[in-house]
């Protein structure tokens, strides 16, 4: 156990050195902050444009909050996918990492933990923009802290698990790794109802999205932080059931992700793709 913690710490330390060293501090901060803030401001602009005319403008806060937490999906999941691309294409060091005693699982987990810290920065900045620029606020005393904390923690596990899956596909399919990284995050943004209720998705797709833990995560975060969700379909689900459902789907998803990653990695090794660069 202590050996595993040591490996995770080493991977996280190395990840931090890489993350904080590729650019000068100014550009680093801009990159970590600029995209989340800009996305938040786009939502703010849309809200400002229609706030006087929209019939359900009060629903905006829930969408904004979910968008803020989507930063974890963006940073962690895409970030872990990018670890593969960077190590293989840019630094050409993936084969050395793969053969080192730390092991890929520990290495990816450690790098993912650094991405979690970056995601936290993005989350806080986005929430600050919402609080001060758009008026997205909540009653601190009314927050259901215990369910909220549990939901938050479970969601982070789901983010890390998704990262493993994306990294595994990136290992197996080098040419589509870059496209995949960006694409999965956008697809989840749409499919999981980050900025709209899933009720607006076509029937059939709604049922599919409920299998993905992130759909429940966003809805639960809204509910426990703001006091209300956004989906009429999920409105009748009790808090306890929501938490249980989220925990179960995340557990299943995590197992599938880890097993899937192992299978993808094994396949990539057999096909000789671990160090296959595409010059992209």
């Amino acid at each position: 156990m202590s050996a595993r913690v040591g490996k995770l710490r080493s991977a996280a330390w190395l990840g931090w050195q890489i993350e904080s060293n590729w650019a000068d501090p100014f550009l680093f901060v801009v990159y970590t902050v600029a995209r989340p803030v800009a996305t938040a401001l786009i939502l703010a602009g849309m809200y400002w444009a229609v706030s006087g005319q929209a019939a359900r403008a009060q629903m905006f806060a829930g969408f904004f909050v979910a968008n803020a937490f989507h930063n974890y999906v963006t940073q962690v999941m895409i970030g872990m996918g990018w670890v593969i691309v960077e190590e293989r294409e840019d630094y050409e060091t993936l084969k050395y990492v793969y053969t080192s005693p730390i092991g890929m699982i520990n290495y990816l987990a450690g790098r993912g933990l650094v991405k979690l810290s970056l995601g936290t920065v993005s989350l806080l900045v986005t929430l600050l923009v919402g609080w001060f620029c758009v008026g997205v606020r909540w009653e601190w005393g009314a927050v259901a802290w215990i369910p909220f904390t549990l939901t938050f923690a479970i969601g982070l596990v789901a983010c890390l698990s998704a990262g493993f899956l994306v990294a595994g596909v990136g290992l197996l399919l080098p040419r589509i790794a870059v496209t995949l990284n960006e694409g999965v995050a956008i697809a989840l943004y749409l499919a999981c109802g980050v900025i709209f209720p899933i009720d607006l998705l076509p029937r059939g797709i709604q049922e599919l999205t409920l299998v993905i833990p992130f759909t429940l995560w966003y809805e639960a975060l809204r509910r426990f932080l703001l006091g209300h969700g956004s989906s009429a379909r999920l409105a009748d689900v009790s808090d306890l059931a929501m938490l249980g459902w989220l925990a179960l789907s995340t557990a299943v998803f995590s197992v599938v992700a880890l097993v899937g990653y192992r299978a993808l990695e094994t396949r990539a090794r057999k096909l000789g793709r671990l160090d296959q660069t595409t010059m992209f």
């Binding site: 400002w48 444009a49 929209a54 840019d90 040419r175 496209t179 697809a187 943004y189």
Partner: protein, 289 residues
């Protein structure tokens, strides 16, 4: 004894190239680069999917946000148009801005600089190819926006639409030409800079909401990145009053024309300057500095 031919006469340069009018050379170089851009863009099917589908996904999410808030239907159309144009900005960033940087990474940049053609011709070919390939890929956005999400526009003048679109593209890709030379100065930061210029420009250009919402800031931002005036003018052509335009359409057309000329001149100047700087500092063939 046979006399030597004229071509081997004393003083003739055996390496002399046949004379080609500069305009013809410009056209041929641009066409050649256009060909490479067009063929290359269809070589990787996953990139076609990524370039066409993912902007459409983002657009769909923003349209559904308006729907969830109960906003007037015109806003959904407005977001569809913005989403479609976002594909062009992504192409400007990744297909123009970072292109010379990619070429440097792959060791081909020096070939561009020793080729006996204008660098502007190469960039022009890239730009025209970029517009054409992106236009083909926006079909997916049109299908999602107008087919699946049900956005609608009233009757409009197609010639005016085509004119404003072409003008917007000239201004936008001229900016892309300028960025391509600027990015030559960057090392691996070029990648991150391009990433950092996506969403902030979406916001400053009012891609998913009327630029008028941002007031004076929107006006200033639109003068820096022509995407703002481009999308605003196109919305006015298609939606009229419902577009809630920033300035009158005629004024925006004049500004777009001025920006087009200005960025083309700037692109030519910056390319020459930055080529000189890169050569002096030995950065033309330097990777991952």
């Amino acid at each position: 004894m046979k006399a030597p031919s004229d071509s081997h006469a004393a003083g003739a340069d055996p390496f002399a190239r046949p004379h080609v009018h500069p305009a013809v050379a410009f056209y041929r170089a641009a066409r050649a680069r256009l060909y490479v851009r067009m063929v290359g863009s269809f070589r990787e099917p996953t990139w076609i999917i990524g370039d066409s589908l993912f902007p459409a996904f983002g657009m769909a999410a923003f349209v559904l946000l308006y729907r969830a808030l109960g906003a007037p239907a015109a806003y959904e159309t407005l977001a569809v148009l913005g989403g479609i144009l976002s594909a062009y900005w992504l192409n400007v960033l990744w297909g123009m801005g970072t292109q010379l940087y990619w070429e440097k990474q792959q060791g081909q940049l020096q070939l561009y600089f020793v080729a006996p053609v204008s660098r502007m011709a190469i960039l022009t070919g890239m730009a025209v190819g970029g517009v054409l390939t992106t236009t083909i890929r926006t079909v997916v956005g049109l299908i999602v926006g107008f087919g699946i999400l049900g956005a609608r526009v009233p009757a409009f003048d197609p010639w005016m639409l085509a004119f404003v679109f072409v003008l917007s593209m000239v201004a936008l890709y001229a900016l892309g030409m300028t960025l391509s030379s600027l990015f030559l100065l960057f090392g691996r930061e070029a990648w991150h800079l391009a990433n950092a210029l996506a969403e902030p420009v979406y916001f400053m250009s009012g891609l998913y909401f009327p630029l008028r919402t941002l007031g004076g800031f929107g006006l200033v931002a639109a003068c820096v990145v022509p995407l703002g005036f481009g999308v605003d003018a196109l919305r006015q052509v298609l939606l009229g009053e419902a577009a809630r335009g920033l300035l009158p359409l005629d004024t925006e057309i004049v500004i777009l024309a001025v920006l087009s000329v200005g960025f083309l001149i700037l692109a030519r100047f910056s390319l020459a300057q930055l080529e000189r700087i890169s050569k002096n500092e030995g950065r033309l063939t330097q990777r991952w500095q």
